[in-house]
């Protein structure tokens, strides 16, 4: 991807609301008794593994 392509037109917009989407977190256990967190945004639909649990996202207090 070139630098030009990577520039996000949304950044030129003045309000955070214009580029901000809902954030979701799914917690999944992985090998070695470890945790993995999938983060998705807006209406994004990802094929998540079995056992993925929707978990609260801790946003900053001021947002």
């Amino acid at each position: 991807m070139s630098q030009e392509q990577s520039i996000d037109a949304a950044a030129g917009q003045s309000s955070p609301a214009d580029v901000r989407e809902d954030i979701h977190k799914y917690t999944v256990p992985i090998e070695g008794d470890r945790k993995l967190y999938f983060y998705t945004f807006g209406d994004e639909k990802l094929e998540l593994p079995e056992g993925a649990v929707l978990t609260e996202v801790k946003e900053a207090a001021n947002v």
Binding site: M1, Q3, S6, I7, D8, A9, A10, A11, G12, P16, A17, V19, R20, E21, I23, K25, V28, I30, E31, G32, R34, K35, L36, Y37, F38, Y39, T40, F41, E44, L46, E47, L48, P49, V57, K58, E59, A60, A61, N62, V63
Partner: protein, 329 residues
């Protein structure tokens, strides 16, 4: 095996993590553990065919909870501690051949929100005293996986660099009532020669005391912003734009993807109130001093702790300022 061993000369902990000798070292792209797991393909660390942003506990952690038993018993003179805490890997792009600089501002904003979530989670753990979010980029820095990623360490102690900063900030506050980082930023703004950019919420500069030619600071301007959790939505977006422009400017410096260490310094997580004296900031340490010459940490730096910078911060800031201002969003 993993433990903390006390260094009595320096008064700081050293982490041993012998299992990390076996960690994955530059695997072929088809076997990258940070790519998504394709159907019928090599099972990576990420058990899904695609992802946006993913964070997971490191398979080869220096710190973990519960911590393993130390390999050796400590003594009063040679204390040993538990290497407890957390080490997490942050994959901010499913693309194997990419970089943070190439991510859209929107994704960088989302990454800031993910970092904030991880900070809050780790900050609430009783055995965590400091959270360090960072990115090692490039072979020159010593990365072992080409796939773009960052890391988060949650230490059971306040690491020396943060402890020194806090100590200096506390002395400055006691003497002047001021916030040392904000006073540094104010001094840089007043002088102007080392400023790379200034936005509503952040100031970007190569500090007067730079140890690396292209060492760069991004400091939050409003007092009381000690951690990611203190930012408003507007400040998060401002930071995302600043990061994007800094990273693109870095890549345009020599015409290739610049290696660097991104070090995010936030208030410790030990329960104390750092609001009046400390300030959120990001420090970048690119290891290059020219297009094809590395700035090595050699005798004076590694052996005596005294950095020697072969360049003038005022000249390097001018280079970066022009590149930063040329970035269009």
């Amino acid at each position: 095996m993993s433990e903390l061993r006390w260094h009595p000369l320096l008064g700081e902990w050293v982490i041993t993590a012998t299992h990390r000798q076996n960690r994955t070292f530059f695997p072929p792209a088809d076997y990258c553990p940070l790519c998504a797991t394709k159907k019928g393909g090599f099972p990576t660390e990420i058990p899904a065919p695609d992802y946006d942003i993913v964070v997971f506990e490191n398979k080869f952690p220096s710190l973990q909870t519960p911590a393993p038993e130390p390999a050796i018993e400590g003594t009063e003179f040679e204390p040993v501690g538990l290497a407890e805490g957390a080490c997490e890997v942050v994959c901010f792009s499913p693309e194997h051949n990419s970089s943070l600089a190439e991510q859209p501002v929107k994704r960088i904003l989302n990454l800031i929100r993910v970092w904030t979530d991880r900070f809050q989670d780790l900050d609430s753990r009783p055995n965590v005293k400091s959270i360090f979010i960072f990115e090692n980029k490039g072979r020159e820095i010593g990365v072992t996986l080409a796939h773009p990623h960052g890391q988060i360490y949650a230490y059971p102690f306040i690491p020396p660099r943060i402890a020194t900063e806090v100590d200096q900030a506390r002395k400055h506050f006691a003497k002047t009532g001021g916030n040392l980082l904000l006073d540094i930023a104010a001094s840089e703004i007043k002088d102007g020669r080392r400023i790379v950019a200034e936005t509503e919420s952040f100031v970007v500069f190569i500090p007067f005391f730079a140890r690396y030619p292209y060492e760069l600071f991004i400091i939050a301007k409003e007092r009381g912003k000690t951690a990611l959790t203190d930012f408003t939505a507007a400040e998060q977006l401002d930071l995302a734009i600043v990061l994007k422009k800094v990273l693109v400017a870095f890549d345009n410096l020599f015409g290739f993807s610049l290696p660097y260490i991104l070090a995010m310094h936030q208030r410790p997580s030990d329960g104390e109130d750092y609001t009046p004296l400390y300030q959120f900031h990001i420090e970048f340490y690119p290891p290059l001093r020219t297009k094809d010459k590395l700035k090595y940490l050699a005798g004076s730096e590694a052996g005596a702790g005294a950095y020697i910078n072969d360049t003038l911060a005022e000249e390097k800031a001018l280079e970066l300022r022009k590149l930063y201002e040329a970035v269009e969003l």
